[in-house]
Amino acid sequence: MPYIKKGEIADDPYVRLGGDEPVPTDVPVIVPLEWLLAQTPQSLEGRNVPLGVALPNDKPESLLEPYLPRLSLIALDFPIYRDGRAFTQARRLREAYGFTGEIRAEGDVLRDQFLFMVRSGFDAFEVKKDKDAKAFAEALQEFSGFYQPAGAGDAHFRFRFAPPFSPAMKEGESDA
């Protein structure tokens, strides 16, 4: 399944762990929520590789609050395409909790959701179809403006939309 980060297909550095697997301490991992909740935040302080957690879409983001300083990634699930609860989770994680790590979309992730996801705060994607993954940059360019701000970066109503992760933007970054 192709993985997109910073707007491009990339290798996924994380190992995804299931229910009962032991959690290694030397590679980046995405752990189940149950495992995380069984730890104390303090017990995670010694880890020096990135730690991610998968938050099911029927669980509140508030469960993660004590762990957020230790988390580098939160994976949010789209069990089916039309189940949009993770849009709210992503937006609340960014806005209510100020989470700045990776928010990854996984599950039934299709091309026509990319714009909605990016605008809700997702910045990484496990895409179901190769063809959709290749069309990622194109999909973000379908609109030149949006009516409603959906994040502090949007500033105001009726704003010009600059697709994030675009080559122009990256060049701008490297020039700086």
Binding site: Y81, D83, D112, S144, G145, Q148, H156
Partner: protein, 552 residues
């Protein structure tokens, strides 16, 4: 009229281009039908019994004459020369080919029209009073706020895959012509004790198989917080609305299950967090939108000009129509004209392309180029000089658009039913036309007075049968069409659901039964001014039960 600027025009053109690409990917097989379904629904494209159906938005019920001509053209070029107005300020075409849809959307976009979010599990087309901006009793024009909401809700990134559809209606008048109490969120513009304008917010109303009257969520919401408060409601609903059963997924069920107090606590907690952030409406943004609402320059005129009085005295048919179809306007010397789309013998709410073109011309001549669509499936010419009413009536009459039956029993709200709809259990349109024919004598219908007949072909209640003075619901029993009758429903500020009269009756008995119910009312009413719905309120349904049984 709200006038689109470059931003709005670009947005709907890009939306049409996006849909063209989505259709191409569907037709090539790259996107499965299951994946395509939410995409096409968000653009108003349904798969019906015979073909794809396109539902075009008429935001807050306002059309320019050029937009109406565009709709007529779509009907002529891509459909069979007629369209069907719905109960939520949309128009539907039933015979458009999927491969033509992208061209239709591009063509609509040229006239500032679209089908964005007329279906799907998202925030639907925002509806309001069809007399907005001209009604004498309103606080301010609610269409301004409906436009703010149209902009906010269009392709909202967080609220486009909700548990179920989400309908918002707004009114600014004490008399509710927008049925806000049977919407997911109903907004009423009100003035508080300090004279400030804000919103009363209702939540959890709706019809369908589990009807609920909306409950009060907030008595007064300062207007600058409209968007942040709605986001708090939608966010709470998106997170907590049921997704295990589509029949329990509307916000009305969430309200019913957790209670309005708990919902309010959750909503207000979220709202406290976001209310003073970037969603707070600033004066410059509001002023910009307000500046793009163009109003006609009203002449200084007197009410009841001599010419009108003479015509009323001289032409009894005109006088009948005038009494029935013309309402007071806020500007002296003007009237609001309702154009009935319920001619006897025709499907309620249908209009041919020829009629729409004729109406567009009449709107240019007599109504500042503006047309409205109401939830009762009729059209409105909102700015007619009283001195022009006689000339207008003659032309409407010639076009078959002067049926003087507004608010009478033949002015029914009727869903498409089994003739078109894949959800229906029973036919609606033939019931409506047969009842209209039974009461085709307008003198008789007028002697009955105001009587709202609402007909749905299934429990989804698109014909709003629960809130009809007489409601008829089609059900299926042993492969036959049966109909349940309810009496005493209302959709206005005193909204209530009708009470069931008794067991369902077969198709063949419906018209006779309705006539017996009406005759029973004529016997029971205290005076000619007691409306049907008031007689039912006074006596209950009990004295009407004998109408269910024919006297042999």
């Amino acid at each position: 009229m709200y006038v689109y600027d470059e931003f709005d025009r670009t947005f709907i053109a890009e939306r049409a281009a996006q849909f063209r690409d989505q259709v191409a990917r569907r037709l090539s097989g790259e996107v499965t039908e299951d994946e395509f379904k939410p995409l096409r629904l968000m653009n108003g494209v349904y798969l019906q019994l015979h073909a794809y159906m396109l539902r075009i938005a008429i935001p807050y019920g306002t059309l320019s004459s050029n937009q109406l001509r565009k709709i007529a053209e779509i009907g002529r070029v891509y459909d069979r020369g007629y369209g069907h107005f719905t109960t939520r300020q949309n128009i539907q075409f039933n015979w458009i080919k999927l491969s033509d849809m992208p061209d239709v959307l591009v063509s609509l976009a040229e006239a500032g029209l679209h089908a964005i979010q007329t279906s799907g599990n998202c925030i639907r087309n925002i509806t309001t009073d069809q007399w907005a901006g001209v009604a004498p009793d309103e606080i301010e024009d609610p269409r301004f706020w409906a436009e703010v909401l149209r902009q906010w809700s269009s392709l909202h990134p967080e609220f486009t895959f909700l548990p179920r559809k989400f309908k918002i209606a707004i009114t600014a008048a004490p008399h509710d012509r927008a049925a806000i109490k049977v919407h997911d969120v109903g907004l009423r513009l009100v003035r508080n004790d300090a004279g400030e304008v804000g919103f009363q917010v209702l939540v959890g109303g709706g019809l369908g198989r589990s009807p609920f009257i909306g409950k009060l969520l907030r008595d007064f919401l300062p207007k600058e917080h409209l968007i942040s408060y709605l986001e708090a409601i939608l966010r709470t609903y998106n997170a907590h609305g049921r997704r295990d059963n589509i029949y329990k997924a509307r916000i009305k069920i969430l309200v019913h299950e957790i209670g309005v107090e708990k919902l309010k606590a959750d909503v207000e907690k979220e709202w406290e967090r976001i209310r003073d952030g970037y969603l707070k409406l600033d004066d410059a943004f509001l002023a910009d939108i307000r500046s793009r609402f163009i109003y006609p320059a009203y002449e200084t005129l007197e009410d009841e000009p001599e010419g009108l009085k003479r015509a009323l005295a001289a032409d009894a048919r005109f006088a009948t129509w005038h009494r029935n179809s013309v309402a007071p306007h806020k500007a002296p010397g003007y009237g609001i004209v309702t154009v009935s789309l319920k001619p006897i013998g025709k499907p309620p709410g249908d209009a041919t392309s020829g009629q729409l073109d004729a109406l567009a011309d009449l709107a240019d001549t007599y109504s500042a180029g503006e047309i409205r669509v109401g939830h009762e499936q009729n059209l409105v010419l909102p700015h007619v000089r009283q001195q022009d009413l006689y000339a207008l009536w003659q032309k409407l009459d010639a076009a078959g658009l002067a049926t003087p039956n507004v608010n009478l029993i033949s002015d029914s709200i009727t869903c498409p039913g089994l003739d078109y709809c894949s959800l229906a259990n029973a036919r609606s349109i033939p019931i409506a036309t047969a009842i209209a024919e039974r009461f085709a004598d307008h003198d008789k219908a007028r002697s009955v007075g105001r009587l709202h007949l609402n007909i749905s072909g299934c429990i989804n209640a698109c014909g709003h049968h629960h809130v009809g003075h007489i409601g008829i619901l089609g059900v299926e029993k042993n492969d036959r069409e049966f109909y349940q009758i309810t009496l005493g429903g209302k959709a206005d500020e005193d909204a209530r659901f009708g009470d069931l009269l008794g067991p369902a009756i077969p198709y063949e008995e419906v018209v006779d039964t309705i006539e017996r119910i009406v005759n029973r009312y004529l016997d029971l009413r205290q005076s000619e001014t007691e409306l049907f719905v008031d007689t039912v309120k006074r006596l209950g349904v009990e004295p009407f039960k004998e109408a269910l049984h024919a006297v042999h």
